[in-house]
Amino acid sequence: MKSELERLKAAQAGDRGALERLLVPFQTPLLNYLYRMLGDRHQAEDLLQETFVRVLRSLHGFRPPEGVDPGGGEGPSPLLARWVFTIATNLARDARRGRRRDPQPLADAEVEAPSPAEGSAEDGGLLIALDAAIRGLPETQREVLLLRIHSGLTFGRIAEILGCPLNTALGRMHYALNRLRRSLRPYMAMVQER
């Protein structure tokens, strides 16, 4: 079984199978991150594509950061995670800046309502409320929260992606979780009563 480093080298040499095994695990986490940062499924997929274009364009020159456990599981490669999520974060920020400069009509910018998750009705309701509450977070708090959920990176790495001190990233996460607790308190109580 190939190690993560061997897989990365094979991908850099143009091995199609290695490229797929390296990039496919990033698809869903990146899409969810971009989707909840932008609130627009189609734009999120466009930026997901652009993220992969940029990754592939620079992959041959990529050198994995030192001190990172290469892992070896089926999830996104820890070797690439910080780099890939940095690209996605910058693209999402650019897109949001562009949107502020050139506001879209409401119908285009409208946030899609997620379909209820599988499971009981009350859990579905809670998850829908959670999704809405996450999108209602201030952008800086949402960035940290979503990076933590979807990238699997430590807060130290997340702070590097966002270009802020570790304590700032931790503070934003703290505020984000407390804000979600306040927003979801009625739903949580309802679920617990049943």
Partner: protein, 224 residues
């Protein structure tokens, strides 16, 4: 560990990013402090809940495009890298023209292409669609449009699987300057860069640049 320290380090505790010695100290504090325990539990419950947020999955269309992108990237090196096959003298010409393309790109005003400008291309050459272009929706249609609007040779074809365009051996009419420019430019970093959709997201704008580069190259070389 006191209450203030516990609360400032609660996230590191919840997410398992706390060194072992500090973790033991935190657990010792939580065992004797109901207030901090309630705070950490509340935050931990919320952290668990946000981890269950519903996942959206990439669309079928996305998977199709992803396959095409990876196929193009993983194509054999000679197809991806060698954008030009021909005699040494022709390759030298390509190098000169590519340099001119860089200069052309730096220009802000384009001179008109002299009427009837022609350049003889080697009998066999290859072009590659830039990654960004191959990735787009309807890349084939985009190429058709490029051919129509900048006069690219009609015998260029696109491999629908890889998105890689290969110009077949040229026969018949001598390729035009337009063809030469696109042939060179499409395989070069210059055009690839200019076709970056984030910098130039619209095909019309790309075409405008290509047309300008062609005209400028024609004027600079004075071929006719």
């Amino acid at each position: 560990m006191d209450c203030s320290e516990m609360r400032s380090r609660a996230l590191a505790y919840i997410y398992g990013e706390m060194p072992l010695a500090e973790r033991r100290s935190a657990e010792g504090h939580l065992a004797g402090c109901e207030s901090c325990l309630a705070e950490v539990r509340g935050m931990s419950d919320m952290a668990d809940l946000v981890g269950k947020v519903e996942q959206v999955v990439p669309s079928t269309e996305f998977h199709r495009r992803f396959d095409r992108l990876v196929t193009a990237e993983a194509a054999p090196a000679r197809t991806r890298r060698a954008s030009f096959r021909g005699p040494a003298s022709s390759r030298a010409l390509v190098a000169i023209a590519a340099g001119i393309a860089v200069l052309a790109w730096l220009r802000t005003e384009w001179a008109p292409i002299p009427s009837g400008t022609r350049l003889t291309l080697p009998p066999s050459c290859r072009i590659q669609v830039p990654l960004d272009l191959a990735w787009r929706d309807g890349a084939d249609a985009d190429l058709e449009s490029l051919r129509d609007r900048v006069g690219l040779a009609v015998n260029a074809t696109v491999d629908p699987e890889s998105g890689v365009s290969e110009q077949q051996d040229t026969e018949g009419p001598t390729p035009s300057w337009s063809e030469a420019c696109y042939t060179l430019g499409a395989g070069s970093d210059v055009l690839r860069w200019k076709l970056d959709p984030s910098a130039s997201p619209r095909l019309d704008r790309d075409l405008e640049w290509i047309r300008g580069a062609i005209e400028s190259m024609g004027a600079d070389l004075g071929e006719g």
